[in-house]
């Protein structure tokens, strides 16, 4: 089985040494695009080794969707089978490419592969940090769906926090269903995934872990928790607003 060609997009909105740990964890042969801001560019490029193959794309804005979209846009310059959005403080597990290559070969019709993330505490810097959790909806959702393993629309409406980070996405997905909505402050990944399944895209879980996701202040979940409940509810409603119809809904004109 041949390993798939994968491009990793790392959005970097602030100076943080952990990004180098993330870069180092990416298996050999993959492309890495760090999508960062003008403010962080000098610091990052200054620290980068001269012969580094990491590609850098620089943006005016520092919001997460903007950084991700810029990375996606830049990735078109290269050719790859799958795109992965990697948080700068996460790390890829050594067997990730083997796992993803195996599943994407066997399940070729799938457009987004959603593996499990091992949640670890940031302070745990050992080679094999203690597992404190598994990304929950990514693991629970496939059991709730009508067809085991697939993320169907009904299930997606019920579960509202499925990480886009860590998913392996075919580049054609962004052509077919669009990119991340930059006007969303939060739940942009939820809105994106809802949009994909609403329009018939196929998302399937991979019941194996491909990366460590560290719990710290940088995580979106932690950021969101700091916001007022009403704000969170409004954004969640906004993400769902356009997609409240089931795709198989029968319409009666009587």
């Amino acid at each position: 089985m041949e390993n798939k060609k994968i491009t990793y997009i790392i959005p970097l909105h602030k100076e943080d040494e952990k990004v180098f740990r993330a870069i180092e964890s990416v298996p050999e042969g993959a492309d890495i695009i760090v999508s960062t801001t003008k403010d962080v560019e000098d610091w990052f490029c200054g620290k980068l080794e001269q012969d580094s193959k990491v590609m850098t794309v620089v943006n005016d804005k520092s919001t997460y969707p903007v950084l991700v979209n810029a990375g996606i846009e830049y990735s078109k310059k290269g050719e790859c089978d799958l795109i992965n959005i990697l948080e700068y403080d996460d790390t890829i597990l050594p067997n990730a490419h083997k796992i993803v290559s195996e599943y994407s070969t066997d399940w070729d019709d799938v457009e987004i592969y959603c593996p499990l993330a091992c949640i670890v505490v940031e302070e745990d810097t050992t080679d094999k940090p203690t597992l404190v959790g598994i990304s929950n909806e990514a693991s629970m959702a496939p059991q709730m769906a009508e067809e085991f393993g697939y993320f169907d629309f009904n299930m997606m409406l019920k579960t509202n926090f499925i990480f886009l980070n860590g998913c392996y996405i075919k580049p054609s997905v962004f052509e077919d269903y669009g990119i991340i909505k930059e006007n969303f402050d939060m739940f942009y990944d939820y809105e994106f995934l809802l949009r994909v399944v609403y329009n018939g895209g196929i998302i399937r879980s991979i019941p194996k872990a491909t990366h460590f996701h560290a719990i710290n202040e940088a995580g979106a979940f932690e950021t969101q928790k700091a916001l007022p409940k009403e704000t969170r509810e409004n954004w969640l409603g906004a993400a769902r607003r356009e997609y409240f119809f089931e795709d198989d809904r029968e319409i009666s004109f009587e």
Binding site: L93, I99, I119, I134, S139
Partner: protein, 375 residues
């Protein structure tokens, strides 16, 4: 046997050498599916297909296990092909000195009755579960008290146990087979679900449920893992469940040799569990996550470790190779080899016994003649 002549015994030896004798296998009248009964039926069928006349004996006249009709072809009258049946209650079993009578370990009453009736045949225990050997007997009672000297055992660890408690018994080992055309891996390993198949423990499932609850409490982040209970499923559905599950947990503390882990190995399903003593001949740390029998806490931890190892894709090929290697002894070929070897040995040993008896009778006749002439 009191009035047997040398000529009669010559006939017995001829019939043994010519294969003109019958192996009777007594089996309980179980209405519900039983792995032990199935294994014995497989054994009888295999013997008949390979030149050893064999018959299944049930107690009640007309009894036939309905559930076995899913496994064996039947003729127009509903009789199993190559598995003739007779009944103890009919009272007219044609048992002769050259015949063999196999009795399950849990039926000392049958052993005792045959001893009381001076049944002329060779009586052998067909032992399928070490746990029932002494449970079924009175304290201090052993098989040799019923004139039994031989046992056919289905696992090495069970044989070791028998040698420890009844050193005077001769044991031979036969293998059962797990059909690899029923239990086989999925087309793609990526078809495996994060699902744990299990057969409830013998205590009505109490220990199994306790392990599962302990597992969920210890590993709350694995709450998405489903446990699928195998209960009353037809064999093909059970095989399908094993095939689609990534994991199997073996909750049997007192297994004969443990067929389910072999079925799981053939399905490329990872196994954690207890060895049940009977499984010690093939269950190792190389092919499964094994913990001491009955240890609920360590089994819960082993399940967590197994899932984590699978999830991070750290199961080496050597694990799957070890699982495959463990299945070799339980193939149809292995079953056939062990059955033919064992029953040929029984026949040879019986011929030696009859020859000794013939010599004794012959000597006794000579002595009688001499004493008559002396008078």
């Amino acid at each position: 046997m009191a009035n047997i002549s040398v000529k009669d015994l010559d006939g017995v030896i001829d019939r043994l050498e010519g294969g003109e004798y019958t192996n009777y296998f007594f089996l309980p009248d179980f209405e519900k599916e039983s792995g032990g009964v199935k294994l014995a039926y497989d054994h009888v069928k295999c013997m008949n297909e390979n030149g050893f006349n064999s018959v299944v004996i049930h107690q009640k006249e007309g009894f036939s296990p309905e559930w076995l009709k899913d496994y064996y072809p039947t003729d127009d009258e509903g009789n199993f092909e190559n598995i003739p049946m007779m009944y103890l209650d009919s009272g007219n079993l044609p048992i002769n000195i050259e015949d063999f009578f196999f009795i399950p370990e849990g039926f000392p009453n049958i052993m005792e009755n045959l001893a009381k009736q001076n049944a002329p045949c060779k009586r052998i225990v067909f032992c399928q579960n070490w746990y029932y050997i002494l449970n079924a007997m009175q304290p201090g009672q052993f098989w040799n008290h019923f004139g039994i000297t031989d046992c056919m055992s289905v696992s090495q660890s069970q044989t070791d146990y028998i040698k420890m408690i009844m050193p005077q018994i001769n044991c031979k080992q036969v293998y059962g087979q797990i059909p690899s055309d029923v239990f086989y891996p999925p087309e793609k390993m990526t078809d495996k679900k994060m699902q744990v198949a299990f057969i409830p423990s013998r205590d009505g499932g109490m220990k199994a449920y306790n392990v599962i609850k302990t597992f969920y409490a210890m590993f709350p982040h694995f709450r998405f893992i489903q446990f699928a209970e195998v209960k009353g499923l037809p064999r093909d559905d059970y095989a399908q469940l094993l095939r689609e599950s990534a994991f199997f947990v073996h909750f049997d503390e007192v297994s004969s040799w443990g067929t389910a882990p072999i079925e799981a190995f053939l399905s490329k399903t990872l196994v954690a569990g207890w060895d049940g003593v009977g499984g010690r001949e093939y269950m190792t740390t190389d092919n499964m996550w094994i913990v001491p029998n009955g240890d609920i806490i360590r089994l819960a931890m082993a399940i967590g470790n197994m899932i984590e190892t699978f999830m991070t894709d750290e199961i080496g090929e050597e694990k799957y190779s070890a699982m495959e290697a463990a299945c070799i002894n339980y193939s149809a070929e292995s079953e056939l080899d062990s059955i033919i070897t064992t029953h040929n040995e029984y026949r040879s040993e019986r011929i030696v016994e009859i020859e000794k008896l013939r010599e004794m009778v012959s000597n006794a006749v000579e002595e009688t003649k001499e004493s008559e002439n002396g008078e």
